[in-house]
Each structure stands twice: as structure tokens, then as C-alpha cells.
């Protein structure tokens, strides 16, 4: 620490390649290209429009959540209730419309308000108690799961919403959340456009706005951020509400694409969102990561999920693959971070 007030001559120039390699999402991009190439070569349907339509749709809903979770992770927190939230919001709309005859748009709005409220509570509890968000949102996760299972059964006597498509104005909402257009023989679902939109907005916010600067700072060094005048509380609660809001969006997309939702929808996916975010370059410790990277992470998940089916392998290999991806990504991220911190 006692050396060098002036830097320069001892620091070599950074090559463009090194700069590129420092981007957090680069690993995920390379992996995505490799995986696409692999399945495109080894299976017949993977690269066809109809084949691609299937894995893109799968990737899209995971991707929306992964991007939101990535923002939250860059902000230094986790949200384990994110998966159950996608089921919860869909069930709220389903129950309110099919069982109680509420106007579908009002039900959608109620669902959004409830989701944001849960996000707000998550954030407030984490900030006020100083407990790890891992624990707080684990609690919310179980609460939501309980409500999804027991509440739905108590209210409608079933574990899945039925008759959704007979609800008045269903078509309007389906147009927004569940429609598809045909491109070259493959279906492109609305969720894919939502995914692209969410990723673009998240990236812009993260890299080009004050809010983005604050997100990086509260995840990287919360005390420092507070001392310098960053509204830490507002930023973090906002992030939890963003994740919950994304959960609502995905809930709507799932509900209106399939016109049904099960009580256990989304349960178990919370870790997949985190894995996608980490594969996309997010550090577990916060302060570093990328929204586009998380979208690539979800793309990888979607491609492998479907590629395994097309290849005729046992579906369960997906789990093993995810584990390997996660470990590889964590090691890579750690290496990139060390380089970013030491090399000029």
C-alpha cells in the first residue's frame, strides 16, 4: 500500500480480448453457442423452426425470472420465493375469475398488487431485521407454497384451475400474455417478446441509469453505499418488488399460454433461476453480474432441457448437467472476479 501514487509505466496495456473476457456474460454466451451447435448437429429437429419454438418458449419464462433474480443477486440478495410466486399469481387470477366471477383485468391487477406486496414484505423484513435474505425468502416460499396448495384446495376443491378459457374477456388477456405468431412454421410465443423486453430494460437500467449504479453498489459494499448517500433501503426493497413483479408476469404468461395453472406450479424452480443468473456471470456475493448473462443462462437451460428430449436421453440427466454448469460457472466467475480486481 505504501508504493505507487502514480500508476502508469508499471501497468501493461489491456488487450481488447482481455477486456472482452472481463465481461460477466461472456462465459454464458460461449457455452450457449457451443450447446446450440452440439444439439443442432446431433439431432434433426433441434434447429428447425418448430423445434426452436419449443425450447425458446421454455427458456423465455425461466429467462424473465432469471433476469430479475440476477438484478437482485447483483444487489446482494436472494429470493427463494420467486418460483412459488409464479404459481401464486396465476392461481389468484384463476380462482378470482373462475370461482368468484371477478373481471379478468381486475383479477390480474389484484394479483399484481399482491405480488408486489409480498416483494415489499420480503425486502422490508430483510432490511429491518438484517437477516440473510436466504432465510427470509425461504420463509415466504413456504408460506406461498402452503397457500397455493391448501388455499386453492379450500376455495375451489381442486388442485388446478379449470374453465379458464370460458371466463369473459379471456381472449383479451390471452392476446397480451398467451398468444403466438407463426414464423417460418414455428410458433413464437408472446412470452419470448416479454423475455426480450425484460432483458433489454434490465440491461439498460443496470448499465445506464442511476438505479443501476445503486444496485451494483448495494451489492458490492452496502455500508460504503449508505455512507456515500445511496438510498440502500429503497434500492433493495425495489429489487425484491421487481423479482415479485417478474413472478407475476411469468404467472400470467403461464396461465394464459396453457389456460390452466396447478397448485404446485413454479415450486422447485427458484434454484434454476439462481443457477441461470450465476451461469450468466452473477457473483453469489453480489456486486457483479449481468442481466443479458442471465438471459443466456436461461437460454442454455431451455436448450439443454429440450435437447435432451430430442436426443432421446433420460430426462433426469438435465439435473446432473445443471449441477456441472453451476460449478463450472462459479469457478469461472471467481477467476474472472479475481482478474478484474487485480489486473488493470
Amino acid at each position: 500500500m505504501t508504493t505507487a501514487t502514480l500508476v502508469d509505466e508499471r501497468v501493461a496495456r489491456t488487450s481488447t480480448l482481455t477486456k472482452l473476457l472481463k465481461r460477466p456474460e461472456i462465459g454464458a454466451l460461449v457455452a450457449a453457442i457451443a450447446i446450440f451447435t452440439f444439439f443442432a448437429v446431433t439431432t434433426d429437429v433441434f434447429a428447425t423452426p418448430s423445434g426452436a419454438s419449443t425450447w425458446l418458449r421454455g427458456a423465455s419464462t425461466i429467462g424473465i425470472m432469471a433476469v430479475a433474480v440476477a438484478l437482485l443477486m447483483i444487489g446482494g440478495e436472494f429470493d427463494l420465493s420467486a418460483g412459488a410466486m409464479t404459481g401464486f399469481t396465476g392461481l389468484v387470477v384463476g380462482v378470482l375469475t373462475t370461482e368468484y366471477g371477478l373481471n379478468i383485468w381486475v383479477a390480474i391487477l389484484v394479483s399484481l398488487v399482491l405480488a408486489l406486496a409480498v416483494g415489499f414484505i420480503n425486502g422490508l423484513l430483510v432490511m429491518k431485521t438484517g437477516l440473510p435474505s436466504f432465510i427470509v425468502t425461504l420463509g415466504t416460499f413456504f408460506v406461498l407454497q402452503g397457500i397455493d396448495l391448501a388455499g386453492t384446495k379450500a376455495l375451489i376443491g381442486q388442485v388446478a384451475i379449470q374453465g379458464m378459457s370460458n371466463v369473459p374477456h379471456y381472449d383479451q388477456a390471452k392476446k397480451l400474455f398467451g398468444s403466438s405468431i407463426t414464423v417460418d412454421g414455428g410458433l413464437v410465443y408472446a412470452s419470448i417478446f416479454w423475455w426480450l423486453g425484460v432483458t433489454a430494460v434490465a440491461t439498460w437500467v443496470l448499465l445506464r441509469t442511476r438505479t443501476g449504479n445503486w444496485i451494483f453498489s448495494v451489492g458490492g459494499a452496502q455500508t460504503a453505499a449508505r455512507q456515500i448517500g445511496v438510498p440502500v433501503m429503497k434500492t433493495k426493497i425495489g429489487l425484491f418488488m421487481t423479482t415479485a413483479g417478474a413472478g407475476w408476469l411469468v404467472g400470467m404468461l403461464l396461465l394464459f399460454t396453457t389456460s390452466t395453472v396447478q397448485s404446485n406450479t413454479g415450486v422447485g424452480q427458484e434454484f434454476i433461476f439462481i443457477i441461470c443468473a450465476v451461469v450468466g456471470g452473477c457473483l453469489m456475493t453480489g456486486g457483479y453480474g449481468s442481466a443479458i448473462g442471465a438471459a443466456f443462462g436461461a437460454l442454455i437451460y431451455g436448450m439443454v432441457n429440450q435437447g435432451i428430449v430430442y436426443s432421446g436421453w433420460d430426462n433426469n440427466w438435465l439435473k446432473a448437467f445443471l449441477g456441472v454448469m453451476l460449478l463450472g460457472a462459479v469457478l469461472l466467475n471467481e477467476w474472472v472476479r479475481k482478474r478484474a480486481e487485480t489486473a488493470g
Partner: protein
């Protein structure tokens, strides 16, 4: 999540025109802080004037941190009065202090290691352009400004895009000071800026303190080293065990006075006495100690 505060970054700078040299900007009268039944600080009085350096000296646990936390807005005081421009205030947050022109450079420097230098420089006071929801960071301006401001302080960075964690301790210190000066602080609080630095870099930091004073800033310089405090200080306030031992203008102090007060002449004697008792009057340690103070 929208930027509701300080849409215009220049509004943080110079809330009022820089006050004339020698006018009192911050004054504390019998200030104190209690945490429940713990009295962390009591009855401390001093003033910070434009173009002067007020040194706050004290050993570890003397209450220096509590004192600056009150000035910085991190903790509200529970006793006494804090006057800024003659108006009694309670600072409820660091942002409130910043808005009154009081900037603090903390010991841990309040930087986010993984973020680029320019993002750190403007953190919390980002410059934006555009309107409404499409306000975006003026990245080009911020990078350029960071580079030129640091160059003015003698730090020539090749790339302001590098994570600030890659800079040396002295450099980070200077970035933090340059940042506070740039954002128009009228009062700069420096929390032990030289504590973790070597001799040469301490000198560099002291130079910037003198520079800040020349620019008409009031500086609060917290340190436990009288040799660092005396050359740049105009006023010395000594703390011990949460209490003020007095507030002296430089005219009433010599370096020797300051050093002996800091070391606590009478305190050392009592330590020597205690050592004598516990280790025996003939023990080497006690003898050495006695020789040291007489």
C-alpha cells in the same frame, strides 16, 4: 426506485456560495451521544471554520468515531447542540449532511471495490441526461470529469474504467477526497486518512488537506498522530474516554504540548505506577517505563 433526490447533481455542490474564510460553518456545543445507558460521548464543543483545519485527536475508543458519525449524519446526537451556519440541526442521514455541504471520507473510504473508478467517483450523485423515465447516465462526461479531477490531484489513471479495488490505498484515499471536493463540500470530514498509510503517502494526503484548506473548505481531520495533525491544523480538539480535554487554537499549542497531551502525561504516570505494583518496582518493564516519562 426512481431518482427522486438530487435530479441535478450540481445542486449538491455549493448549497450556498462558499463562505468567507474564517466564518464558522459548523459549531458543536456540549454535544453528546448515549446508546441506551452507554455514554459514548459527552460535552464536546468545537467549531469548524471555512479555510481552517480542525483536528480531532484521541486514542482508540476516545469517541472520535462517534463524534464524526454525528457530524456525518450517521447518528443523531442525544445531547447538546449542532449548529450549521448558526442554525441548530439534527442530521438524520448521510444524505442530509451531504445536502448541507458536509462530506465525509471514511477510514474504509466508502468505495465499492468491484465498481469502476468513475462509477465510484459519482456514486450517489450520478450525472444524468434526458427526460422523465429515459434519464440516463452521462457516462462520457463522468469518465472525463473523473479523469481530469484525479489528474488535478496528481493521480494519472490510464483507465478510469478499472475497478477501484485495483488502486493502492493512498490513491483510493485521494479519489475519495477528490470526490468530496468536486461535489462542493464546504466541510470535509476525514476519518483517520493517514492511519493505514506509509510515511510518503501520508505526506501526499496531508498535502491534499492543505490544498482543501486553501480552497476555503473547512476540514475536520481525525487522527491519533499529533505529528500529522500539527503541521496542517488550525485548531485542536482532544478527546479522551468520550470527553473533551479541551479545544485549542494553534496559537495556544506547541507540538510538544499536543504530543504530551495526546500521550497523556498523567495517564502514563499512572500506568507506570500500576506496572510497578503488579510487576515489582525493580522489574525491567517498570524501570523502562519510568525512565521514559521522567
Amino acid at each position: 426506485m426512481n431518482a427522486t433526490t438530487n435530479p441535478d447533481p450540481t445542486s449538491t455542490s455549493t448549497p450556498t456560495a462558499p463562505p468567507a474564510r474564517g466564518t464558522t460553518v459548523v459549531e458543536v456545543r456540549g454535544i453528546g451521544k448515549r446508546y441506551g445507558n452507554i455514554i459514548a460521548l459527552s460535552d464536546v464543543s468545537t467549531s469548524v471554520r471555512a479555510g481552517e483545519v480542525t483536528c480531532v485527536l484521541g486514542d482508540n475508543g476516545a469517541g472520535k468515531s462517534t463524534f464524526i458519525k454525528i457530524l456525518a449524519g450517521a447518528h443523531e446526537h442525544s445531547d447538546g447542540e449542532l449548529l450549521i451556519d448558526g442554525v441548530p440541526v439534527h442530521l438524520s442521514s448521510p444524505r442530509a449532511a451531504l445536502e448541507l455541504g458536509i462530506a465525509t471520507v471514511y477510514q474504509d473510504l466508502a468505495v465499492v471495490p468491484l465498481m469502476p473508478v468513475w462509477r465510484n467517483f459519482f456514486l450517489g450523485s450520478e450525472v444524468v441526461k434526458g427526460v422523465g423515465p429515459f434519464k440516463k447516465l452521462d457516462i462520457e462526461f463522468m469518465k472525463k470529469t473523473t479523469k481530469s479531477e484525479l489528474a488535478a490531484m496528481g493521480i494519472d489513471l490510464r483507465d478510469v474504467d478499472q475497478p477501484i479495488g485495483t488502486l493502492s490505498g493512498g490513491e483510493r484515499q485521494c479519489v475519495a477526497i477528490a470526490r468530496a471536493v468536486y461535489f462542493g463540500a464546504r466541510v470535509l470530514i476525514l476519518d483517520e486518512p493517514t492511519a493505514a498509510l506509509g510515511v510518503k503517502q501520508s505526506g501526499v494526503v496531508l498535502k491534499y488537506i492543505a490544498k482543501a484548506r486553501e480552497r476555503g473548505l473547512g476540514v475536520v481531520f481525525i487522527t491519533h498522530n499529533p505529528h500529522h495533525a500539527y503541521p496542517v491544523g488550525d485548531r485542536f480538539m482532544l478527546l479522551r474516554r468520550g470527553k473533551s480535554m479541551g479545544d485549542f487554537p494553534k496559537a495556544e499549542m506547541t507540538l510538544e504540548d499536543l504530543t504530551s497531551m495526546m500521550a497523556g502525561g498523567s495517564e502514563l504516570e499512572s500506568i507506570a505506577h500500576e506496572l510497578e505494583k503488579s510487576m515489582g518496582a525493580d522489574s525491567k518493564v517498570a524501570q523502562d517505563m519510568k525512565a521514559e516519562i521522567t
